[in-house]
Structures are given as structure tokens and as C-alpha cells.
Amino acid sequence: MLRYIFYRLLAAIPTLFLISALVFTIIELPPGDFFENYIAELQAQGETVDPRKIEYLKEEYGFDKPLIERYFTWVGGMLQGDFGYSFEYELPVSDVVGNRLWLTILVSTITIIFTWLIAFPIGIYSATHQYSWGDYGLTFLGLLGLATPNFLLALILLYFANVWFGTSIGHLMDAEYIDQPMSWAKFGSMAEHMVIPVIVIGTAGTAGMIRRLRANLLDELQKQYVVTARAKGVPPTRALVKYPLRMSLNFFIADIGSILPAVISGAEVVAIVLSLETTGPLLIRALQSQDMYLAGSFLMFLATLTVIGVLISDIALAILDPRIRLQGGRR
């Protein structure tokens, strides 16, 4: 196993290089650059900028150099732990991302756990009570969440939470707790602010999980080994969890690769709407304003997480299913 992991880590190096080249290209693809963007935005306000200042800035940040050279400077920097400089914030990228990372991980983790906590029991219920009212009802609810655009859902919740409960929404905690050490009050405030984002982000994912889980379970439930388990006298739920559920986890684990980066980037759109202090909005803004080092380094970070996620997912798959682990490569 260790050898396999080592081999995979080795294989990740060229992959990451390839990704870095692609990321760089994608960021460079839209015509124009941060500064043009910046001028355009100011101009729309009625403000003016001295074009010579911009010339100077461009030179300062190496925009006069050829693409290839800039790419290698960037990659070289990253290898040394220098993720570049954000034009917009005029801060090193690592400082910009800094704190938010933890909040993002917190929100996303809670969301994912929420999704699972809801999706698993419901999925199991739906599969074992196929075509009951419960199955129909829960399916309907899940799909409702899926069918309503996140933005609209956030808006509606935002509005009615206010009209009915008088709570104000947005941010991850009340203002007075920012930069305060953790306390129960702060925790409470965070918990309160967490509800809506978690619901909004969660609903979309839940329906998918439920339906897939249900489908997979229905397939497994009839297998002979489930009968064996029943014959052993394993109580129904336990039999379900130990055998078919584990089998159906396959698809779910295969997807871990994309969960990790999602944890970090958070649900961008919702985060923007609810002004959550997560990294998602940061990334989108960076992309929109073509703050390329910020965007690029952030994307590379996500890419690295994806690669790690895929690795974890492969290892988990192997642990889960001995048939994958023990098979020799065929042909």
C-alpha cells in the first residue's frame, strides 16, 4: 500500500505541472488583464485613472514580459512557497487567502456532514420503503431543493427569515465577534448564521445523494449475500448498513476527489449572496477582475487538493472493496 501511495505521489508531479499550465492558460485566455479591467470599472463610476500610472504598474508586475516567462516565474515562485501577489489587494496571495481558509473549511465541512446526515437516512429509507408516501414525499422535497436556483432560494430564505423571525442574515457571525477568541457566545452566533447557508448549499446536494443512494441500494438489496445475512439473523437495518450500503458506497467514495476542493472553495455563488467570509467569493472576484496570481495560485491549491482527493478516494476504494485491492492488473 505504501508503495502504491508513493508511486501515486510521484505520478502527481507531472499531473500538477500539466494542470498549472492549463490553469495559467485559462486565466490568460480572456483578453485583457487586471489593469484594463480596473480602468474600465473606475471609468464606469466616472472616475479616471492616469494611463501612465497603469503603464508603470504593468511593467512593475511583469506584464510586458512574454507569457512563457511569466508562467515560469509563477511556477518557480510557487515551488518556493511564493504564491505571487494579488493586484487587487496588493498583498501576497497567502495573506489574502489566509484566515478565510479555516472558515471555509468549517462551513463546507458542516454542509457536507449535513448533507450526509440527511441524505443517508433518507436514501436508506427510500430504498427500503420504495414507493411509500415517505419515499415520494422526501423525493419531492429533495427535488424541490434541486429545482430552485440557489440564488433564489437564498433570497427567499433571507427575506422570509427576516419577515417571520426578524433575524438578519449573511456573514458567518455577528460583527462583534470578529477577531474575538472563541467563546460560547461566538459559537452561538456562528451556529445561528450557519443555518441558512447550510440549508441552501445542502439542499442541492442532498437530492442527488438520496437518489443515487436509493438506486444503488435497490440494486444491492436483492443480492444473495444479503439473503445470507438475513439468514444469519442480522437485524434488517444492520444487515442493510453492513452489506448493501457498503457496496453502494462505491460511487460515493469515487467522488471524494471532487469533495475536497469543494470543501475549500465552498459554494461560491451562495457564499457571495450571503456574504460569507469564505474563499469562494474571493476566487470569483479574483477571476472576474483577472487578478491572475491570486486566482492562479488559488486554483493550483484546489488542483492539488483534487489530486490528493483522488488519491484518498482510490485508497478508500481499495479499502472498501477487496476485489479492487486484490485484483491483479488484467491484460
Binding site: 485559462i26 429545482a147 430552485t148 433564489l152 443515487r212 435497490l218
Partner: protein, 393 residues
């Protein structure tokens, strides 16, 4: 002895059955059973499917809605461009049949209009004296049927000089119902192309990786890693930036969906792959190979069916994402734009607080979205069950 079972606890005696015994005897089949036994597997599935009422109704519903695409112009009471200055933000009108106790046929009440300069709100009060009977198969706004034949026939029109806004109007005084009907065209076609592309790719590439394993798997895995590492948002932005401006929004959107489809297959491919990695160890797969079956045959005949439920569920789950894909895209300034109309565009226009608080009927396009998604899901359920050998209808 007449029974094969002795009294409780007593020694058994020798029982021999007296019923006539015919060693050649086989169960006789009724003609109707006979029909079942010689039907093809597809036909069997169809029979099973027919038993699933929700699925059948969903199928019919979808069929109808797809057919409606063909005659949107005729079904919509108004044309797409139609804008009524008198009816800005007019709330939905209910259809009535009886006026003051007497039957009039389907009609709507007109509205009394008042401009509230205090709140700057257009206020509409139903006027129960203003009876506007609906007309059917009538002449209304003219349109070019499929962009070709000039016509002005509509299924239903308002009374002469009246108006009929079943689902209300928007800020320009456009009929929401008509726009929903027109929007169906794009929402139910373009988005699904993306799914198709991504499913085809996901299944074949994931299937190959899972089936062959070894170096093919490694290469595919790395490709997937790379693609998964490219988050969609920058990709959208980049794509939007390089799409020629002179292209019409529909073509651009079409292009984006296809490209997204080309990129979006990775999740599915991984799921297929990991499932196949374990499924391919099953003996029946070996059996198929030993009969000389080619890899595609093994994958599509033996491996994928074992995975069908997951695929169906995934597909039905992805459909809303694709139908609403443009909402997410529009948030970033991409996606479809007016005058092209789709459900996503309509919902997009509904995404502001004015609508939520003051003109909630503009959120109604969510209803067809939900219905279609439900229908696809039930249809998927039906298909799943039909394909499930253990499930007997």
C-alpha cells in the same frame, strides 16, 4: 397411510403418494402466459414499465411537453415580443366560469388600475363588472411559425380589447405564461445535449478505464484528475471571453453546454470506473470474455446494466442542473440573455427582492422546472424497475 406427516412425535410410517404421476409432465401454459414467455427482453421491460403508473404518467407528460415545443407559437396566447404598457406587473388573472351565478363560459375579470404615487406601485383591483370572455382558436398576435409560415392563430386569446394574463405579467408588461411556453423550447433541448455528451463520454471512458485497468486506467485517471482540477467557473469565464461576440446568444450557450459536457464527464467516469473495477471480477464477466465477447460488448452488455440504476439516477439528477445551468452562468454574466427566453432566463429575472416581496408570480417558472424534474425522476424510476430483474411488477 394417507398423510406424509405422522402425528406429533410419533414414528413415521411409510407414506406413498397416490396422486397420479407423470414423469414427462410439464406445467401447461395458458396462451397469455405463452405470450409472455416468448417475448423479447425489451418487450418484457416495456410491460413492466407500463405497470409503473407514475412513470407512465410522467412519460406522457414529458411527451406532451416535448410536443408542445413544436407548437409553442400556437399555444401561447401572446407572441414573445408582445409588451403591454397598460399591464406592467399585472398579477395573475383567475379563470372564472360563472358570473353572478350565471354561466358565461371561461372568462376573466378585468382589472382596475391605480398608480399609487405614495409607494410608486401599480395597483390592480379586479373589477367584477368587467367580464372578458376568452376566445378559443382565435386570431391574435401574428407570428412566424417556426420562423417560416406567417400565422396568427392561437389556442386561446383574450376578449377583443381585453387582456388575458393567466400567470400575470412582468416589468415590461409581457405575459408570463407565453414566455414560459416559449421558454420550454430552449430549456428542454439545449441543456440535455450537454448531459448526453457527458454521459456518453463518462460511460465509455470510465467503462474502458474500469474494464481494462492497468495503464489505460492510469492514463484516464490522470486525465480525470486534470479535468477535475479545472474548476468550472474560470472555465466558463474563459469560454465566455473567447466566444465571438457576434455569435448569437443561443449559439454561444449551445457551445458552452457542449464544452461543459465535454468536461463534465469526469465524475461519472470515476463512478463507472470504480464500480466496474469491482464488477469485472464477477464470474459472469469472465464467462462472457471466455465466450469471446469483445470489451465493448462486455462493458455495455454485462457491466453497465449492473450499474444502470446509478446511471439513471445520475442522469435524472443532472437534468435540473442542465435546465437551470444558465442561471448559474448568468450570475457570472454569461448564459442566455433576453430576448432569448428560457426558464432559466425567466427565473433569473425573478431573482431579485422586488419579485420575492411584491410580484411573486414571476417565480412561477419554477413550477414547470419542478414538474419536468419530477417527471424525469419518475420516468427514471420506472425505467430502473423495468430493467431490474428482481423487481416484478
Amino acid at each position: 397411510m394417507s398423510s406424509s406427516i405422522p402425528p406429533d412425535g410419533e414414528a413415521i410410517s411409510h407414506f406413498v403418494s397416490q396422486t397420479p404421476f407423470d414423469p414427462q409432465g410439464v406445467e401447461k401454459l395458458s396462451p397469455e402466459q405463452e405470450k409472455v414467455y416468448f417475448a423479447s427482453q425489451l418487450k418484457l421491460m416495456w410491460w413492466k414499465f407500463r405497470k409503473h403508473r407514475a412513470a407512465v404518467w410522467s412519460g406522457i407528460f414529458l411527451l406532451l411537453i416535448y410536443l408542445s415545443i413544436l407548437i409553442s407559437e400556437f399555444l401561447a396566447p401572446y407572441s414573445l415580443e408582445r409588451r403591454d404598457v397598460r399591464a406592467i406587473y399585472m398579477p395573475p388573472q383567475g379563470i372564472h366560469l360563472f358570473h353572478e351565478g350565471s354561466f358565461v363560459g371561461p372568462f376573466v375579470y378585468g382589472y382596475d388600475f391605480k398608480l399609487n404615487m405614495q409607494t410608486l406601485k401599480r395597483e390592480y383591483v379586479p373589477n367584477t363588472n368587467d367580464v372578458q370572455p376568452l376566445r378559443f382558436f382565435c386570431r391574435g398576435d401574428s407570428y412566424r411559425f417556426w420562423g417560416m409560415v406567417e400565422s396568427d392563430l392561437h389556442l386561446v386569446c383574450p376578449a377583443e380589447d381585453g387582456y388575458f394574463y393567466l400567470l400575470g405579467t412582468d416589468r415590461l408588461g409581457r405575459d408570463v405564461l407565453s414566455r414560459i411556453i416559449y421558454g420550454t423550447r430552449i430549456s428542454l433541448t439545449i441543456g440535455l445535449i450537454g448531459i448526453t455528451v457527458s454521459f456518453l463520454l463518462g460511460i465509455s471512458i470510465g467503462g474502458m478505464a474500469g474494464y481494462y485497468g492497468g495503464w489505460i486506467d492510469h492514463v484516464v485517471q490522470r486525465i480525470i484528475e486534470v479535468l477535475q482540477s479545472l474548476p468550472s467557473i474560470p472555465l466558463w469565464l474563459a469560454l465566455a471571453a473567447i466566444m465571438p461576440v457576434t455569435w448569437s446568444p443561443i449559439v454561444v450557450y449551445f457551445g458552452i453546454t457542449i464544452i461543459l459536457g465535454l468536461i463534465d464527464w469526469t465524475g461519472l467516469a470515476r463512478a463507472v470506473r470504480s464500480k466496474l473495477l469491482s464488477l469485472r471480477e464477477e464470474e459472469y464477466v469472465v464467462a462472457a470474455e471466455l465466450m469471446g465477447a469483445s470489451p465493448p460488448r462486455v462493458i455495455f452488455r454485462h457491466l453497465i446494466p449492473g450499474f444502470m440504476s446509478h446511471l439513471i439516477a445520475s442522469a435524472t439528477i443532472t437534468i435540473p442542473t442542465m435546465i437551470l445551468g444558465e442561471t448559474a452562468l448568468s450570475f457570472l454574466g454569461l448564459g442566455l440573455r433576453p430576448p432569448v427566453t428560457s426558464w432559466g432566463v425567466l427565473l433569473n429575472e425573478a431573482q431579485n427582492i422586488n419579485v420575492v416581496a411584491l410580484y411573486p408570480w414571476l417565480i412561477l417558472p419554477v413550477v414547470p422546472v419542478i414538474l419536468v424534474i419530477l417527471a424525469f425522476n419518475f420516468l427514471g424510476d420506472g425505467l430502473r424497475d423495468a430493467a431490474d430483474p428482481y423487481h416484478s411488477a
